[in-house]
Amino acid sequence: MIAHPVPPVRTYVAVWIALIALLLVTLGSAFVPLGALNPAINFAIATAKALLVTWFFMHLRSGHAMLRITAAAGFFWLAILIGLSMTDFAVRY
């Protein structure tokens, strides 16, 4: 009857605990003066949270490879958009 296996509840809860922990770390780190490291930490943690959500909540881990490629394509074009814009910015200013 059940043709579609699902991860156990504890996997989802563990991911949620990790997400909340990362939120607290990013919030706490913002109050520690680290200079240029502050935005770097914030971005790294946001990326980690996004990966947790896509991998587990959005089932990219268990989904068809085509879905991972499509998701990666979205972020790849975003990287081109921002990356190339930044090279222009770096050269001109």
Binding site: H4, W16, P39, A46, H64, W77, L81, I82
Partner: protein, 213 residues
């Protein structure tokens, strides 16, 4: 395998139909990444031009409410994931409870965001409407809040769409529309909800945590 799923004639079977739907929503989500991407790019370029102003402006935002809202949205993603899980297992009652919990958390998020907007208005931080921030970086602060309202506004718009989707799913689940073989609308609605969560995950540090030291 006997199946309760109605397969459209262009598909060989229900598996292929479901895979097509999954691929379709992911293509849409990839386009959403780029839709929000230009706003993140505009933010990045403006911040590089006005670093001090962005630090000053970010300190005007309510970091407590912003952080609570992040927690609320992350939790709503958990309940949404559990709703999809319950639907796939055919546990209808749990699916309805989790869908309603997701909608409630979404409403809490929108309500907190509305409270923040009201505070911003009272503090005179709304460009074009009521902006009275004075200081050496007032121009850059105004640019920050222009982007703040544009980005959070478009995000809240997505939240309202998501609330409509989740509410509809809850009603359809109550009418026994979903089975362990047919759960595509719940799965796709969930994916959309999670993407809106991801957008906020990136908005949160960019708007609230620029400079708190």
């Amino acid at each position: 395998m006997t199946s309760s799923v109605i397969v459209a004639r262009q598909f060989d079977d229900s598996d292929q139909q479901r895979q097509a739907a999954d691929l379709g929503i992911w293509v849409f989500l990839a386009s959403e990444i780029l839709f929000f991407g230009v706003l993140f790019l505009a933010y990045t370029v403006t911040r590089l031009h006005h670093p001090e102003a962005f630090a000053t402006a970010s300190r005007q935002t309510d970091v407590a409410l912003g952080s609570i809202n992040t927690g609320v949205l992350l939790t709503s993603s958990l309940t949404m994931a559990l709703a999809v899980r319950a639907t796939k297992l055919g546990v209808r009652r749990a699916a309805i409870v989790f869908l309603c919990a997701t909608a409630m958390l979404g409403l809490v998020f929108v309500a907190i965001k509305g409270t923040e907007y009201r505070h911003d208005y009272v503090a005179g931080l709304v460009p074009g409407l009521r902006f009275s921030f004075a200081g050496p970086h007032a121009g850059g602060v105004e640019l920050f809040f222009g982007l703040y309202f544009l980005m959070t506004g478009v995000h809240v718009l997505h939240m309202l769409v998501g609330l409509g989707v989740v509410g509809t799913l809850a009603m359809r689940a109550a009418r026994k529309a979903f089975t362990p073989e047919y759960f595509t609308p719940v799965e796709l609605g969930g994916l959309y909800w999670h993407l809106v969560d991801i957008v906020w995950i990136f908005l949160y540090p960019l708007l609230y945590l620029v400079s708190r030291t």
